[in-house]
């Protein structure tokens, strides 16, 4: 590897003085107070109406930030899922299937606009239901969800440009199951391209985060979307399995863990359903010695602590070039020490609540395995709220490739730090995983960015940035991170068949 010029060491001087406040001064609370307009009870959204589940069963959804109950959510059984599919098929065979692309697009534009109108309300609901910091739901999740609808709306009458030399047609009814980490945004990633391509949809949100999906039903009503084009059924794994395996689902799209993705693939092995799978990841975030280190540290923090690390493409394996490892780690620890962990609704909060007790237990167990296997743990010494599910930002150094924390997806604010010496070693270590969703590269050299991007076996490569998303940018993985893409021209074509 061509060595980057070694900077002459600066003359020794006392490190700049810094002010250490510790817990001396508390920040005043700065809660977001907009009304999330939550109902006490949410029914299923089938055929354009909110309908009670046939079983009459409801399950509570709580706020992971304080464990308070938010609402009761209708539990969809097999009969409800079937009703949803019948209604979606009827819509596909009827008005929606016959509609011109230009008209279809206008409905999707309306959805984007109505979502923008009610953005703050949705952001607060999202944060209360899922635990993510309000600044993320307000500045990222909801605007990006609207952007996905806006982007795909414009495709609806331009599908002839998607597949050169071929005409395309919708699959029919698409069954979609989404995770709890970006509830509304994942809904948008799924529904927007499906509708643009002319499909109809049965979508199931995750059981811990159903409220914004069901609130989205209200937006569909306001938009006047024909009944049955989008149907939303709530519930847990059993409901999800019913959605994935329903005979009327011509295509299924799943975002979630690799473990569940494999179960779905097995359950559909005897069918001819089209599938796209967006599964887990264990992304390498690679810092070279010529990287702008302060900027890189911000990128590391964003890469692993964004959304409490509940991100399939999170930069959970930090690979640092040995010559700067000590510096990067020191800077990182200082940066972590000023992260604010706590009330998700507080506008100053950097890390909100872990989505569920179950996930908190999983993170805790994996972190324990890191300690047991001999990695060195650093944790932010912050106070955590008495109620709710929280986990301290955690960094493990001295991690080897065989440690569980370097191999398994933790899906929490836990970073594993490994080092490398050469470009080749960085590539080898980064690719040494069954996953292949994303990777990050930090360097000052454009040619090295492109070299790394060529060699990394990952569907998305971020250079001098991390966790960037855009409706025009295809997202999806290699290897056990799944197949198919979401976003851009490539993603949209996965919602079409060639005729």
């Amino acid at each position: 590897m061509p060595k980057t010029p070694v900077k002459k060491s600066a003359p020794r001087r006392a490190s700049a003085r810094e002010l250490v406040f510790g817990d001396l001064w508390e920040f005043d609370p700065a809660p977001e107070t907009a009304d999330p307009k939550l109902k006490k009870r949410y029914d299923l959204f089938i055929g354009g109406e909110f309908v009670a589940p046939k079983s009459g069963k409801y399950f509570p959804t709580i706020s992971p930030g304080n464990e308070a109950k938010l609402a009761d959510i209708a539990l969809a059984g097999a009969a409800d899922v079937d009703a949803a599919f019948q209604s979606a098929q009827k819509a596909f065979d009827g008005a929606w299937g016959k509609m011109a692309g230009s008209e279809r697009g206008k409905y999707i534009y309306r959805i984007a606009r109505l979502l923008q109108d009610r953005a703050r309300e949705f952001a607060v609901a999202e944060t209360m239901d899922g635990g993510k910091p309000i600044k993320e739901s307000r500045d990222f999740d909801v605007p990006m969800a609207a952007a996905h609808f806006f982007y795909h709306a414009g495709w609806a009458d331009k599908l002839d440009c998607l597949a050169p030399g071929r005409r395309v047609a919708p699959h029919g009814v698409v069954g979609q199951v989404i995770p709890w980490n970006f509830p509304l945004l994942m809904l948008a990633w799924k529904i927007a391209p499906a509708l643009a391509a002319g499909n109809t949809v049965v979508l199931k949100p995750a059981e811990t985060t159903s409220t914004t999906a069901l609130k989205f039903g209200e937006i569909l009503q306001e938009a006047g979307l024909p009944p049955g084009v989008v149907n939303i059924v709530a519930g847990a794994g059993e409901t999800g399995a019913a959605v994935m395996t329903h005979p009327l689902a011509a295509k299924v799209a799943f975002t979630g863990s690799t473990e569940v993705g494999k179960i779905i693939m097995r359950s559909l092995a005897g069918t001819d359903k089209k599938m796209t799978m967006e599964l887990g990841g264990k992304a390498a975030n690679i810092i070279f010695d010529d990287a702008p280190l302060d900027q890189a540290v911000e990128g590391i923090v964003n890469g692993i602590f964004f959304n409490q690390g509940h991100v399939c493409c999170a930069g959970s394996r930090l690979l640092v070039q040995e010559s700067v490892a000590a510096t990067v780690l020191a800077k990182l620890k200082r940066r972590i020490a000023v992260l604010r962990v706590g009330d998700p609704l507080d506008k100053n909060t950097d890390l909100g609540a872990i989505n569920s007790r179950e996930q908190l237990d999983r993170i805790t167990a994996l972190v324990q395995s890191g300690v047991d296997e001999g990695a060195e743990m650093f944790q932010h010494a912050c106070k955590l709220p008495a109620k709710g599910f929280y986990f301290r930002p955690t960094v493990f150094s001295g991690v080897t490739q065989s440690h569980r924390i370097a191999r398994e997806e933790i899906f929490g604010p836990v970073l594993s730090v490994l080092t490398f010496r050469t470009v080749e070693e960085a590539i080898e270590k980064a690719n040494n995983t069954a996953f292949g969703l994303s990777a990050g590269v930090w360097t000052d050299k454009g040619s090295r960015i492109l070299k790394m991007s060529t060699e990394l076996k990952a569907g998305v490569v971020w250079a001098n940035t991390f966790n960037k998303f855009d409706p025009a940018s295809p997202f999806g993985g290699y290897k056990e991170s799944g197949f198919g893409r979401e976003g851009g021209r490539q993603g949209l074509l996965d919602y079409c068949k060639l005729i």
Binding site: A147, A163, P164, G165, R166, T258, G261, K262, M265, R266, L268, A269, G270, D272, M277, L279, A434, G446, I449, L450, S453, A458, G459, V460, V461, W462, A463, N464, T465, K468, D470, A472, S473, P474, F475, G476, Y478, K479, E480, S481, G482, F483, R485, G488, R489, Q490, L498
Partner: protein, 289 residues
Amino acid sequence: MASRLPITKTPKCYVGGAFIRSESGRVTALHDAHGNFFANIPQCTRKDLRNAVEAAAKAGLGWAKRSGYNRGQILYRLAEMIEARSAEMAEAIALGGASDAAAAKEVSASIDRLIHYAGWADKFAQVLGSVNPVSSPHFNFTVTEPMGIIGVIAPDEAPLLALVSLIASAITGGNSVVALASQSQPYPAIVLGEMLATSDLPGGVVNILTGQRSEMLPTFATHEHIRALSGVANADERKQLKLGAAESVKRTRLQKSEDAHDWFADSAQGVHEIRELIEFKTTWHPIGA
């Protein structure tokens, strides 16, 4: 003049650039359409498959890095090799009972198919890739990359043309291939191996096995280094292949053997066939001083 006894050929499989018999030592007798003994065909095993995957893995890295222009020339060279020996290939197809005219037509179509894909080798990336207009200061672009090793499962129908179509769509995109030839008509695949060997295609990029589907498919399904399956299978086989594929999130592109296929049609070729066997990689490159 005393009549001369001709030298008959021992059919061998083309693996890693060499001609092999099955490690099992087993063969299947192949008869012509009149029931006369023709030759013994290797009856490959899952161990032969594993060896072939190893060869494909070794050769695949270099093949993936070849330029599209170079891959195109090699595909063109393969077409040249078949054209020059098209009479021999036609005989191999006629062995299975096809008329001379039908056999000649299948050979011609196979050659033309290779020419079609030779032309795609340095173009598909332009058609399938993109520069994406994102709302941040990044040059965001999507390129195609090979998936890796593709398991090709050829049908009995059009034993040469289908096999060539399935192989060509995979290797044009930079993948390497382990193929299972038609079970009932394996001989055209044996001859194809001999032509591949003289085509400039690096040994190991295409490996062709013969044998029983029922013995080989389970390993095609579960071998983790095979990243995608492309071919034709019946309902039971498809289920078996997809079940195995789930274990390593393997991509499957399986057509139904119960459906009629027109392998001669223009729709049986093209850039969208290549698309089925490539990955998309999107890079966010910063724009700034």
